[in-house]
């Protein structure tokens, strides 16, 4: 089982994601430079958080033209796993692998804070071990996390059960107050129609060790690992 963590110029959660896979899970993981164009030896590609190209112009807008992205698109089209976290999620949307776009947070400010998200669907490789309705506590750290999709897209997303995580209270209730960035329909994470590409705004890699106060992020990594080991 081999993971690849893409490094765009300006990625800054690449080290964190790598660290969790390598040191917490003791897995086989490589950094993938944004100019690399073959990904055939990997089972799961992660686009990490950060500020690719400074997030200048729009979050993820320039990174999506990196040479590696064509390879990521092909990789995804082969049905293999692609996970985009925060900026990685934004890149996946810009690249057309996931529907929608991010607007500025409703507060207009960067928000770094723990949030609660509710697992809406366990039928993805990224949530196999979760219970539906389970609430995870994870940190967010972003300025552009206010999810937007037009009415048609939204309808499709719902019809295909592509909304995987929603912002909620610690008890699992959807409220505007718990929806810090103002996302449409509380969306915190979605997958593609084929369910092998997932993007989410909170950072599971930041809560994967007890010393950091919480291990809820492991629910997602554990699910991926379980899925991949069954697949083999």
């Amino acid at each position: 089982m081999k993971f690849g963590v893409v490094v765009f110029p300006g990625s800054n959660c690449d080290h964190d994601t790598y660290y969790v896979l390598k040191e917490v899970y003791k897995l086989d993981v490589d950094y993938i430079w944004h100019k690399q164009t073959t990904l055939s030896s990997y089972d799961c590609i992660i686009l990490p958080g950060g500020f690719s190209y400074g997030d200048y112009l729009r979050s993820g807008a320039i990174a999506r033209f990196s040479p590696v992205m064509q390879a990521v698109i092909n990789f995804a089209h082969q049905g293999r796993l692609v996970l985009g976290i925060c900026n990685g999620f934004q890149v996946l949307m810009e690249a057309g692998l996931l529907p929608g776009a991010m607007l500025r947070n409703k507060t207009l400010k960067f928000i770094c804070q723990d949030v609660h998200i509710r697992v809406e669907d366990k039928q993805t490789p990224f949530t196999t071990l979760c219970r539906e309705g389970e609430v995870l506590r994870l940190p967010i750290a972003h300025k552009d996390g206010n999810y937007f999709a037009d009415a048609k897209m939204m309808k499709e997303l719902k019809k295909n059960h592509q909304i995987i995580f929603r912002y909620c209270t610690p008890e699992g209730t959807l409220t505007e107050e718990a929806n810090l960035n103002g996302s449409l329909d509380y969306v915190a994470g979605i997958c593609n129609r084929e369910r092998n590409v997932l993007g989410l705004m909170p950072h599971p890699e930041r809560y994967a060790e007890s010393i950091l106060g919480n291990e809820d992020g492991k629910r997602i990594f554990d699910s991926i690992i379980t899925y991949l080991s069954k697949e083999k």
Binding site: G10, C112, L212
Partner: protein, 746 residues
């Protein structure tokens, strides 16, 4: 383009004094060229040369077992074992931030990050210390919003967590805010890089952003004069930060540092190409010759004067081994950066600046860097102190409703929650943040070891205004106490000394007193000063800020799991108060907020008691007896108790009973007696704890227990405080935001 003639008049226009100009003429034995004059003016400016402060800074204790590098380099370096060292420094960006808060603060963060990674350390945490004017001032809100966003956006983008800081409001900052930024990095202890030019014939390489006309006469000169009407004209000197470029530069430099190609490196901070070349040559006892036509420019037709003085951001100058040029170039190319050889190291002790082969400047390195002139400026005790010392506590009425007092303190801006600020900072990136902002100090773990670091930045300018010597002692002691409360043993500190105009004897006196006080505290507590920064001329229209020395302090926790925070965690835990409460009111936040008085002597400090309290607190944490620890600072015991109750995810009540004594009720609740720490201890650990405390010889008392829905304090049988904790929590949480935005809502 016509080059202005050089004479006394042009020298004065550049900010040099007549004496200094004479000195230049003697030193060179000729009239300098215009470019040379510009270099002198910048390098001998207060900001670059520390000419008013250098002699006095020698009073600081700067050595210690763990100190690898003290003041004098880009940042201080301290050994933390396991083959690792921490590299840290604090720096001011006050003047640019007042003019353009967003970009000024952002580039301040950029500068301090470069100071740290220049030395081979990867930055892993930042802190910020901020001072703004009062909320009535029309500019305050704009300044706060801009500065906080600027710090956040820059640090967040580079991916260095801002894990703590402080923010205070006081009218003395109405015309001159303070923005002090601290960064800490980590490096292998045997691979620290210094800003030195060595090895004749080694290439001098320019990397990073292109040079533009921005910032000419920027930080250097802005920070070396008071604000007045002409500040308007100096405005275009503020630069725009490019955090993306900084991130690339950071990664490329750290990659280069893993190879053996690098000899010396220095960032181009204030005074850009001038300071980096002269300082590297000066420190290395070498010379440098460089050709300006090779410098990458953003705009056509830049003159040697402009190139040498530009303060364009995100640039570095480095010296590599001869023959490694191509390898260095390739590392930077990987990160889409240019690396251009612009000169080489010589042995003549001169910095020779060529422009298309013609000498534009040729000056001796040392007199412009390490041996620049310095002054012993006159000092005089300020007259205001006489008046202010006349303080009769008996003339202050004791309020009848202490609940009301507590509420007004908790919702005053200096005590209210600072979450509105720090939630705009990414404080969890890099996966190390064990204790997030909101407690006494931040804690970050060191990957690959069992260790963690405690980090804090502290200042109290009211204390320093009322009694500079004691005030500065109190600041150092509080920083150490904040570290002890999280379980960390203080290692070393960095200081940022923000003062008014040093040409005024009263300001120099404050400055000297503060250094003396801080030095004294550091000696007793065993904490060396390893780096720092001085910011003078913090005055607008002749009215100076309160003297504001701030301290960034770093502590070590050997076993990361044994850290502590300030929040109560279990009902029924026993609340202990370590230290002694005295009948003290002078200089307190309570006097200022409730009685509108800023007078009296700040609280007394017994350094050996302080040391004992801190050691005991650390031992209780280390041995697992303390479930929480929080010191009493602004707002005294009552505010500290409330803060212990405000757990970020749930509130706790507390019930406290204090024995009757001669101390007046307001001093008891809100006085700021020093060396006090509130610790909560599980009941079943009390016996063991008592044994430890009785051995320690520090005063202590079990004053109550955690639990209930209210904060309740009984004093000699009389209920002084009794108020629902959730309401207090709500007031305290939302106060800052309400103060900042109330106008809009109305």
């Amino acid at each position: 383009m016509k080059v202005p003639e050089v004479n006394l008049k042009t020298a004065l226009e550049q900010g040099l004094t007549e004496d200094e100009y004479q000195r230049i003429l003697e030193l060179l034995g000729r009239v300098p060229t215009f470019t040379e004059l510009g270099i002198f003016a910048l390098m001998w400016s207060e900001h670059c040369s520390y000419k008013s402060s250098r002699a006095l800074l020698k009073q600081f204790p700067t050595t210690g077992e763990r100190v690898i590098q003290g003041p004098g380099e880009n940042a201080g370096v301290v050994d933390i074992g396991d083959g690792l060292a921490v590299v840290f420094k604090i720096e001011s960006h006050n003047h640019p931030s007042f003019i353009e808060p967003y970009q000024g603060a952002a580039t301040g963060v950029g500068g301090i990050l470069r100071d740290v990674f220049t030395m081979g350390a990867r930055p892993i945490a930042s802190l910020d210390s901020l001072r703004f004017g009062s909320f009535d001032h029309p500019k305050t809100r704009w300044l706060v919003e801009g500065v906080v966003a600027g710090i956040g956006d820059y640090g967040n983008c580079v991916g260095v967590p801002t894990v703590g800081g402080e923010i205070y409001f006081h009218p003395s900052y109405n015309g001159n805010i303070l923005v002090n930024a601290f960064t800490l990095g980590i490096a292998p202890k045997n691979r620290i890089f210094l800003g030195r030019a060595k090895g004749v014939g080694n290439p001098v390489i320019y990397v990073g952003s292109k040079t533009g006309r921005d910032g000419i006469h920027g930080a250097g000169l802005l920070a070396s004069a008071e604000f007045d009407e002409t500040s308007e004209e100096k405005r275009p000197t503020v630069q725009v930060g490019d955090p993306f470029m900084e991130k690339l530069l950071l990664e490329a430099c750290l990659e280069l540092m893993q190879t053996g190609y690098l000899v010396g490196i220095q960032d181009m901070g204030a005074a850009g190409l001038s300071s980096s070349s002269f300082e590297m040559a000066g420190r290395g006892g070498a010379g440098i010759v460089m050709e300006l036509s090779r410098v990458p420019c953003r705009e056509p037709g830049m003159t040697p004067y402009e190139l040498m003085l530009s303060e364009s951001q995100e640039r570095m100058l480095l010296i590599a081994n001869k023959g490694a040029e191509e390898k260095v170039r390739r590392i930077f190319e990987k990160w889409d950066l240019e690396a251009v050889v612009i000169g080489e190291v010589t042995d003549d002790g001169m910095v020779t600046v060529l422009n298309d082969g013609n000498v534009a400047a040729k000056l001796p390195a040392k007199p412009l860097s390490i041996s620049a002139p310095f002054y012993h400026r006159p000092m005089r005790k300020p007259g205001y102190l006489k008046d202010i010392a006349q303080f009769e506590p008996a003339s202050v009425p004791i309020p009848s409703d202490m609940n009301q007092v507590l509420k007004s303190l908790l919702s005053s801006p200096n005590i209210a929650s600072k979450e509105w600020v720090y939630r705009q900072y990414d404080y969890t990136v890099r996966d190390n943040t064990v204790l997030i902002p909101g407690s006494d100090a931040a804690v970050i773990r060191i990957k690959g070891t069992t260790k963690a670091l405690g980090l804090t930045v502290d200042g109290n300018s009211r204390y320093c205004y009322l009694h500079p010597l004691r005030g500065a002692m109190l600041v150092a002691a509080e920083a150490a106490r904040n570290l002890s409360c999280c379980g960390a043993t203080p290692l070393a500190l960095t200081d940022c000394l923000n003062f008014g105009n040093p040409e005024k004897p009263e300001i120099m006196w404050q400055f000297d007193q503060c250094i003396k006080g801080m030095s004294q505290a550091c000696r007793v507590l065993g904490i060396p000063v390893v780096s720092g920064n001085v910011s003078f001329y913090n005055e607008t229209f002749g009215s100076p800020i309160f003297p504001t020395p701030t301290v960034g302090m770093v502590g070590l926790i050997d076993d990361c799991r044994k850290h502590c925070d300030q929040w109560f965690k279990e009902e029924k835990d026993i609340i202990l108060l370590l230290g002694d409460t005295r009948d003290e009111l002078g200089g307190s936040e309570y006097l200022s907020v409730v009685h509108k008085l800023e007078r009296g002597d700040p609280p007394a400090l017994d350094l050996s008691l302080e040391k004992g309290v801190q050691e005991t607190c650390r031992e209780m944490i280390g041995r697992g007896m303390a479930r929480s620890a929080h010191d009493c600072s602004e707002g005294g015991l009552a505010v500290a108790l409330a803060e212990c109750c405000f757990h970020p995810r749930r509130s706790f009540g507390a019930s406290v009973e204090l024995k009757s004594s001669s101390i007046r009720e307001d001093a008891l609740l809100f006085g700021e007696s020093q060396s006090r720490i509130l610790v909560s201890v599980p009941r079943q650990r009390m016996k063991q704890t008592e044994r430890l405390l009785d051995k320690s010889s520090i005063p202590w008392a079990a004053i109550g227990s955690v639990g209930g829905e209210a904060l309740r304090v009984v004093y000699g049988g009389e209920v002084l405080l009794d108020y629902p904790i959730r309401e207090l929590h709500h007031l305290w949480s939302k106060a800052l935001e309400r103060l900042l935005f109330s106008k809009e809502d109305e």
